[in-house]
Amino acid sequence: MDESVTLVAKADELNAIHAALERFWLGLSGSVHAAPGRDWQLLFTMAVVEIAANIMRHAYPAEVGTFRLRLYSVVDAAHACFADTGIEFVEADTARQDTSDDDALAESGFGLSIARRCLDGLQYRRSADGINSWHLVKRFGDKGVGTRAS
């Protein structure tokens, strides 16, 4: 199963991300491999949406740009690949929430942490010619949240 979309990096396009995921699930349900259950789909969806939102919010601070999302499956896993030509991603140091102090509660900056917990693999690369690539992997049959990220 292979689904690709090219979208403008703006918040409204999150609806198109959800639509692409729905088409992907339909395609998986008709494939020879066992379709992943609802809980698995939720986790993969959450990860894809967080990375998409990250691109929409940060990749093009001074202009309107586009990004591409490709969803595909292999024998034992689903993959999501994002590509954009925006600025280089630099992770902020707000991955963990301090829940002991209300004033310290962050209102943003923990989306990447959520994505990592939902996946078996998350990789970011920036090529020499300025293309940002995100590669998300989640194994089929993985019922829980992942703990690894690269």
Partner: protein, 110 residues
């Protein structure tokens, strides 16, 4: 996303959300939550019809919670769907946004 604010008294309000609480809708919801929690109200956000929450949506709820507590009030969530429970656990925010099973339970607690 649709939002409905039910002011049950000067001190209590129920905020009913429906749809996705995400990057698209979070800014508007944050504004509504901060406004609803003014005057030190206890606000309960009924999440039963919220189909999806992302980190931006959580940020809006946190903003509402912080605004409520500054005013001497509180913000709680009730009837979250499975996806919301998962994202709360992943972020450990279930410690501060404890999910209640019903609106009445959230309103009555403490």
């Amino acid at each position: 996303m649709d939002i409905q604010v039910v002011e049950r008294s000067e001190s209590d309000a129920v905020i009913v959300l429906s749809g996705r609480l995400d990057l698209i809708t979070a800014p508007r919801i944050k504004e509504q939550l901060v406004h609803a929690t003014m005057s030190g109200r206890r606000c309960v956000v009924d999440m039963a019809d919220v189909t999806f929450v992302d980190s931006s949506g959580l940020g809006a709820l946190i903003a509402g919670l912080k605004a409520a507590r500054v005013q001497g009030g509180d913000l709680r969530i009730a009837r979250p769907a499975d996806q919301m429970r998962v994202i709360l656990e992943l972020t450990t925010l279930d410690r501060v946004l404890r999910p209640y099973s019903t609106v009445e339970e959230a309103m009555a607690d403490g």
